[in-house]
């Protein structure tokens, strides 16, 4: 390497060093340490004691681990498609040429700016079985609303409903994708006499498929790690562990039961699950995702 380019490289590293140091200290070290801790009995206060695969073995036998995992997957299976479908439909509606569109776009985006804690408190009152806002509206439609938060059968769907409310970020990304769909393709379809469903199905959706893939992967990660809202709305996963999610059990083990080793093991199992699901999505996407210019 020439002297000048070496000097430039050094300067580059020095300028990037705040991030590099931060990454090494706050990300890389804890990550690697947690692999080690997952094989230890570690209460944070005492030095970790090596216990081999004990934590992983206990997890396999831990009913609550399976309950939390089932709850999380159930939530993800409902929330992910519901959120994605709503976001795509909203984005398409917000992509039409209607007067006052800027205002509509703002309205739909605003909910996603609400901090998670406020969101949880707000929805506790919307979903309240006795005085909530939602059930009287359903009653007008001749539907008897359930006790959303008190009934173990309805507590998870309640969270899904809430999740849909905060799709603003995803809408924004889809909207950007939609605006990138080349107009000449739509015009060509028009000339061929395609109706609007055919245009959506055969032009728009394929053209925004990379965006859908991105949102799918982010959605998998987000729904599997769901934490803040259920943690606040449903203490201890009430009623009867029906809203006890994986990340909440992980947190409880780490910070309330002082079982940091056990929690680390849970963290790594979660990582592997997300990794497998992401790789699976990428693999599946090869046939269905169309990148422009390829």
């Amino acid at each position: 390497m020439k002297k000048i380019s070496r000097r430039e490289a050094w300067a580059g590293y020095i300028f990037a060093s705040p991030w590099l140091i931060g990454f090494l200290v706050f990300m890389a070290y804890p990550l690697i340490a947690s692999i080690y801790f997952s094989f230890c009995d570690y209460s944070v206060l005492k030095a970790p004691v090596w216990v081999g695969l004990d934590n992983y073995k206990s997890l396999m036998k831990d009913d609550l681990f399976w309950t939390a995992l089932k709850n999380t997957l159930f939530y993800a299976i409902l929330a992910l498609p519901a959120g994605m479908a709503t976001a795509i439909i909203l984005a398409m509606l917000l992509n039409t040429k209607v007067k006052g569109m800027a205002a509509y776009r703002t309205f739909f985006f605003i909910p996603s700016l609400v901090p998670q804690v406020s969101l949880a408190i707000l929805w506790m009152w919307v979903l309240n079985g006795e005085h909530g806002v939602l059930n009287p509206i359903l009653a007008k439609l001749h539907i008897t609303g359930p006790n959303w938060m008190g009934d173990p059968n309805w507590s998870k769907p309640a969270l899904v409903v809430m999740g849909v409310w905060g799709v603003g970020n995803a809408v924004l990304i889809y909207l950007a994708g939609l605006q990138d769909v080349p107009t000449q393709l739509i015009e060509a379809a028009d000339l061929d006499g395609a109706n609007s469903w055919q245009k959506t199905r055969h032009v728009t959706i394929p053209m925004i498929s990379p965006v859908i893939l991105f949102n799918l992967i982010m959605g998998i990660i987000g729904t599997l790690q769901v934490f803040t809202v259920p943690y606040i709305m449903f203490p201890n996963g009430a009623p009867a562990h029906s809203t006890y999610f994986y990340a909440v059990y992980l947190y409880d083990n780490a910070f309330r039961y002082h079982k940091m080793g056990y929690a680390s093991a849970m963290g790594w199992i979660m990582f592997l699950m997300i990794l497998v699901l992401t790789l699976f999505s990428l693999r599946m996407s090869e046939k269905h995702v169309h990148y422009q210019g390829t």
Partner: protein, 440 residues
């Protein structure tokens, strides 16, 4: 004009000002020659003010130590992190039920020797309050403000349904009968008032078993949550759901406002009788001063355990790694004096953990039932949280089982068996790991 001519001076001023003020904000306080003792406490509002007053009195009483009190939320978790990070406070106010978990991890130091030297001894305290700080024969915590519970009932509603407001229930059967009379439903059959609900406020769901004579563990190595006494207690808990409908009660309860608000179910006369602590008076006084209420010992469920009550207390500990242990203990000594404890407990309008009570304490106490709450702390039917390192998890499991029982998704026996089967291996593993770490 060159834009830089404006931007650069402004940017420079902002940067310099930021540096200056952040320096000012983070600068160590001027050296006043005193040892600064850092004290973290969980209380807020008037409860914090009461302790602040004691701290101020201590600071005034001598010129060598300055206690700096800080109100910290989620204290049991944050203190743990601070201890493991090597920057703990010198004194911490924990909940009584946290002590075992902390002691097992050596997160707080033993106070035996310092107490012996200072003449602080068990004989002076009402025993359950002192004993809460003793783990495997060593003292780790001293009581700050203790509390006992009693049945609180709404006299006005009693009169309304033709019950004598001066005759609260004395046995569980009487409680059930009165609860039936106090129950009110509207024309459509919706519950508008309950007489009693075992799940309200739901802070001591674990205590029903012990009230009926059950034990949560055998004190050595066995979880005994599915013992016949415990099953009987939870059958009683479930009887309310059977009588009035699980979902009807659940949905009525979901409409209750938060505890510390004028919408509190007891203050709104939505729930006519409930188990509450000595602090309930403060909240009634604050939010519903006109409420016609009274407190009485909770009805007896097991004749061998008359007047059951829950021992609930806050404690003071010195974290491991504290920099000023000696000075921290000087402060503890001040708080634990009769004067200190009465100042604090009167300020928080609770009872004192000491056997000796100065006449002024009761006279000046605004709670009209203070004598009852003091008497309850000597009750034969008093129950405390078990000294188990896995208690926080055990308690969560009990809460969840409580949901299953009240929602009638499991029979009491089944729910209790499930908790026992789940917690027994946890206890075995916990004790095995204590052994691995060389504790016992």
């Amino acid at each position: 004009m060159d834009r830089n001519a404006f931007t650069i001076p402004v940017l420079a001023t902002v940067i310099i000002a930021t540096l200056y003020y952040s320096e000012q904000l983070t600068k160590a306080p001027p050296d006043d020659g005193k040892v600064h003792v850092k004290y973290w406490e969980k209380w807020t509002a008037f409860e914090f003010d009461a302790m602040k007053h004691v701290v101020d009195e201590f600071n005034k009483s001598q010129d060598k130590i300055q206690v700096d009190i800080l109100s910290v939320s989620g204290i049991e978790d944050k203190t743990l992190m601070a201890i493991s990070g090597g920057i703990p406070p010198d004194v911490v106010g924990l909940y009584g039920e946290n002590v075992t978990q902390y002691a097992d991890n050596h997160a707080v130091i033993q106070l035996d020797d310092m107490c012996r030297e200072a003449g602080i001894k068990r004989d002076d305290y009402i025993s359950p309050f002192w004993d809460a700080g003793v783990i495997r024969g060593h003292l780790y915590a001293l009581p700050s403000t203790p509390a006992t519970t009693a049945l609180h009932y709404n006299r006005k509603v009693f009169k309304e349904v033709g019950l004598d407001p001066d005759k609260p229930p004395r046995t569980i059967d009487e409680l059930d009968d009165m609860a039936d009379k106090l129950m009110k439903r509207d024309a459509k059959g919706h519950v508008v008032r309950t007489g009693f609900m075992p799940g309200e406020p739901g802070w001591w769901n674990w205590s029903w078993g012990p009230f009926f004579g059950g034990k949560l563990w055998d004190g050595k190595n066995k979880i005994t949550f599915n013992s016949p006494e415990n099953v009987k207690a939870f059958e009683w808990v479930q009887s309310f759901s059977k009588k009035w409908g699980a979902s009807a009660l659940q949905s009525f309860k979901s409409g209750f406002g938060s505890f510390s608000s004028p919408q509190n179910a007891f203050m709104m006369s939505q729930n006519a009788m409930e188990i509450q602590g000595v602090w309930m008076y403060n909240f009634i006084h604050m939010y519903s001063p006109g409420l016609d209420w009274a407190a009485a010992p909770f009805p007896t469920a097991n004749p061998e355990l008359p007047d059951p009550t829950v021992i609930d207390l806050d404690v003071l500990c010195i974290p491991t790694g504290a920099k000023h242990t000696k000075e921290a203990f000087e402060f503890l000594k001040f708080v634990e004096s009769q004067k200190g404890l009465e100042m604090l407990c009167l300020g928080q309008k609770k009872i004192t953990p000491l056997k000796a009570v100065s006449p002024g304490f009761i006279e000046n106490h605004p709670n009209p039932f203070i004598k009852l709450f003091i008497k309850m702390s000597y009750s034969k039917g008093a129950v405390s949280t078990p000294k188990l390192g896995i208690w926080s998890q055990y308690k969560d499991e009990i809460s969840s089982a409580f949901d299953d029982i009240t929602l009638m998704t499991k029979t009491p026996k089944q729910a209790l068996d499930d908790v026992t089967n789940r917690m027994q291996p946890m206890l075995d593993q916990y004790q095995y790991r204590l052994h691995l770490r060389g504790e016992e």
